[in-house]
Symmetry: C2
Subunit: 190 residues, 2 copies
């Protein structure tokens, strides 16, 4: 998606540990026009998959999931990152280790919101080591729903998360795929 | 907003401590059609305020802010609930006590995303004690931007949060205002 790549080149910065910071338009401030285009693009990519739900994880996946859900006209579900006092005990849950924050946390989805008949499109902002995404796939599998596909805004293709998902036979679409970071510069995959 | 009130009556439940659980359509699963209507309604209420930014707090405010920002065609900023490794040090920050979770946490917004020229519409899902909302107002004031108004999806009008904001001369609109909870039943304000 060229508009997204242009935005990453213009406003994205590379931080310590090959972290890519896109806080100006994706995960602190949100460019609403770009987000609408991202939702429309995921619709184009997955419109034949009979998607019944969009699943993501709080917080930065929510905006992406919402704009995708609006175009598909289906509900969005976001996995919670810790057991909340407001959530009941009937949860699908999974442990996830975050390299960025160096902590292990629980992600969970109430069983009411994923059913065996669902065809679930999973979306998220970043894919790197892929632990959060693997956790979401695990939760969909626990519910016996089908993973319709995975839509990622920015994939760091030099890390292994994407391959692990593709090896499971799941279709994964990344709107911007980063091949390498060299001398602090972002190089996109062809 | 009648459609919202109908949804609350149909799917909302009252938990211990007068907590209202609306996880089926507002803050775990999201009804994308209802959320679009909420964004349009906030636009109708605040369209004359020359809004330049929508501000909310992660996580459950993000969907509301996004759908509002799409209609206003302005960026969304969401305050983060703890200092993240991905955020720089140049932050507006404020401490907030959560009655629901019984913890004090920091909320912060990078200084880059709120400027003195901004006219900021603050939106959130719930307003009860109003601590999170007061923190967001404080952050806007730190930035010397103007608070254009506050849009709340569900106000518990029997708690004091809303009054504290109105006493500051800030216009607050709640799309559903709950007057009381009696015997586990939700009673709306007239």
């Amino acid at each position: 998606m060229q508009k997204l790549k242009d935005k990453i080149m213009k406003e994205g910065t590379v931080e310590k540990g090959h972290l890519i910071k896109v806080d100006s338009f994706l995960n602190h401030q949100i460019d609403t026009g770009l987000m609408s285009d991202i939702g429309a693009e995921f619709y184009r990519k997955f419109k034949n998959e009979k998607v019944t739900k969009i699943l993501t994880i709080e917080s930065s996946g929510i905006a992406i999931a919402l704009m995708t859900g609006v175009v598909f006209n289906v509900p969005v579900v976001f996995a919670k990152k810790q057991k909340s006092l407001n959530l009941g005990d009937h949860l699908y849950a999974c442990q996830v280790f975050s390299y960025t924050k160096q902590v292990t946390y629980d992600i969970s989805v109430a069983k009411d919101y994923l059913k065996p008949k669902d065809s679930v499109l999973i979306v998220d902002d970043f894919l790197a080591s892929g632990n959060a995404l693997a956790g979401l796939v695990d939760i969909v599998e626990q519910s016996q729903a089908k993973v319709a596909g995975v839509g990622i805004v920015i994939e760091k293709a030099f890390q292994q998360g994407g391959d692990k998902i593709r090896e499971k036979g799941i279709r994964l679409v990344a709107l911007a795929s980063i091949q390498a970071i060299e001398d602090g510069k972002i190089l996109f995959a062809r």
